[in-house]
Amino acid sequence: MKNYTYGIVLFLLLLAGCVFLDGVDEPSAAKAGEEMTITMHNRIDVADGGRTGVRLIIGFLAPKSWAAAANSTITYTTTSYGNGKMVPVPSSVLVGGLPWPAALKNRFGMGGNYMTDNLEWVVFWTDQAYNVPQGVKDKIDVTMVIKPGPDNIQFKTGYFLGTSSDGLNDVFGSNNVYKCMFKDCFSITDGQGDIIDFCNPQIAAVSPGVATDNDFLTLSFDPDVVPTALNGVGNIYLCAKGYTSDGHILEVCTQTETSKLKSYTGNKSAITIWPRSYFNMQEGQTLEKIEYFFTDATGTVKVGFSNTAAPFVYTFKCQ
């Protein structure tokens, strides 16, 4: 029986159509709103009976606010299969029952970034399908021209390489028919506003990162980042001002059950609000931003941005 098992394993290993992600060249500097070029150096080595109608698939991590699927131009060059362009994988294409971006998040995570709700896997595949017979070895360079959004952002980048035929299959052993690579913190500079930092934990974080006043917003407080005046305080409250597009300032800064933070993940606490109701907004009013502090039950102890007297700011963005 054992011999059979070894035989099957050996057979499956020989069957593998392997892909290799040899490296990713990122620009040394990238500016908000300006196109940047990233190159993935890939190889394929088809060690079995070949594949028909197969597309090469690549993925990369990006802030959701970039809408990178729509704002990226991706092309590839090969040694013997010509060149071409890549297009977003349609959401109807499933791998393991999930669309590709969700499947990659499930399998590989978000590369050690924080506020992962505001990041996404963006997945493209070759515009055309190929027949790759047994024994094919080829080098494929994928050039991604991506336009970051207008914000100053830093996040840890991530890249994926795979094929439409083999998906996230582990029959041939993990990391055989696909590869995933995470890299260090990457900065987008010269943009507007404070840095949105996915690389380091923040005292305050808001999820989701893109929202309107008709979404639920979760504002969380993390006591473990730096010691603040709220260390050891039992109940923490939200003190917030909503700025409407018609110039009104709606303030909710009383310490009540409604403004009290609940326990959240780990040591964090959070409040989840529906801004339209929380700020008692009138029909036709829309919110542009929220400025907020966390306070104790008396309202006198206040913690703001970077543990200063300045408020945290959340700007409503929706693309």
Partner: protein, 146 residues
């Protein structure tokens, strides 16, 4: 080894028979008319794949569907619609698409839903984006006992 091969030989014709018999005994079961009338509450809320049911108060929200195709919302929350009005099911026999016509608003809002039975109770699952299109919410509603 020999024995198992013999078994497979024996089983194959039986399997073929079974497959065939399935084919011939097709029974038409009429799809029952689905009735969503009644008062519903939110028992689960998911935002972008993350369960947020316990993060804020979903317990007071109510939506009541009446048999004469009207609906009313009490203690509103971000939902497909925010105002009361009338609703329509595309085909009452297969009501997996619902459209809400809010009073005073000309364009109806249409969405798909699922209608599974969970713990012996009918649930309705709605998936929608009330704010930014990038954010998806999934509410599970359960009918209150009349």
């Amino acid at each position: 080894m020999m024995k198992s091969r013999f078994h497979i030989c024996l089983l194959m014709p039986i399997l073929v028979l079974f497959i065939n018999s399935c084919h011939r005994n097709e029974i038409l079961v009429p799809e029952p008319v689905k009735d969503i009338a009644g008062e519903w509450r939110i028992v689960k809320a998911v935002r972008n794949g993350v369960d947020i049911t316990t993060l804020t108060d979903f317990t007071k929200f109510r939506i009541r569907f009446t048999t004469d195709l009207q609906y009313t919302i009490e203690n509103p929350l971000p939902f497909i619609v925010s105002k009361n009005g009338s609703y329509a099911l595309d085909d009452p026999k297969y009501p997996f698409r619902i459209s809400f016509s809010q009073t005073g608003i000309s364009n109806p809002v249409s969405t798909t839903f699922t209608y599974p039975v969970v713990n012996g109770k009918r649930n309705i699952n709605f998936t929608f984006s009330p704010g930014c299109a990038a954010n998806t919410y999934d509410y599970t509603l359960e009918r209150l006992n009349p």
